[in-house]
């Protein structure tokens, strides 16, 4: 029983400390230079830039 409680506690700690799946998918922009690089790498395709806030 003690082992089960210990395992549950460890899992709980791991889940609490892990970053959410959502936030881990959102990379940070490396400044306007990254946008410029993406833009120029996409030549040959129409490109749409969206400037958005999350709420």
């Amino acid at each position: 029983m003690k082992r089960l409680v210990l395992v549950a506690a460890v899992i709980g700690v791991l889940l609490a400390s892990a970053p959410s799946a959502q936030s881990s998918r959102l990379a940070h922009l490396g400044g306007v230079e990254e946008l410029k690089s993406w833009f120029n790498a996409g030549q040959g395709h129409p490109r749409l830039v969206l400037l958005l806030s999350p709420t």
Partner: protein, 157 residues
């Protein structure tokens, strides 16, 4: 968020083969905004790349250079907000656009995304062609893959 939802449902899902690339840049504008509130479930199309821009570098950059974006044939091209960054906006570029000092080939931009891009998107005919009106003429935006293509934009006949 309404703009992101609209882009996913009306622009991307309804035009799954449209050869468009999307870069969605998210940043704080309202007091409650935070990276943790990013609605990752709204804009999930594989053609979209997302970034969080904490210093609002992209929005600030575009806000100070709005008058140098040429040519702009559609959209409302106005940003009535008194803000420190261009936001809730879209900027649509032709497939030949190149960014040197500033990006060339802008087709249209507008605020808000929902209001102005919806108007633009309503003119998408299918996966390969879209139409928009500017300067008293109807223009064709070619959304087909670029291989072997020469003409990019041509007046509609």
């Amino acid at each position: 968020m309404a703009g992101a939802r609209w882009a996913q449902r009306e622009l991307l899902e309804k035009n799954p083969k449209a050869d468009v690339r999307v870069f969605a840049i998210w940043f704080r504008m309202y007091p409650g905004d935070a990276e943790s509130k990013w609605p990752g479930q709204l804009l999930t199309d594989a053609r979209v790349e997302h970034r969080w821009d904490e210093p609002k570098s992209a929005g600030r950059w575009f806000l100070t250079r709005l008058t140098s974006l040429r040519p702009s044939r559609g959209g409302d091209g106005t940003f009535p907000q008194q803000a420190d960054a261009l936001w809730d906006c879209y900027l649509m570029f032709d497939r030949n656009a190149v960014w040197n000092d500033t990006p060339s080939g802008i087709l249209s931009w507008g605020y808000t995304v929902m209001r102005t891009l919806e108007a633009w998107g309503a003119m998408i005919e299918n996966d390969t062609r879209a139409y928009y009106t500017a300067g008293g003429r109807v223009w064709v935006l070619d959304l087909e893959p670029a291989a072997g293509k020469k003409k990019r934009i041509e007046p509609k006949r």
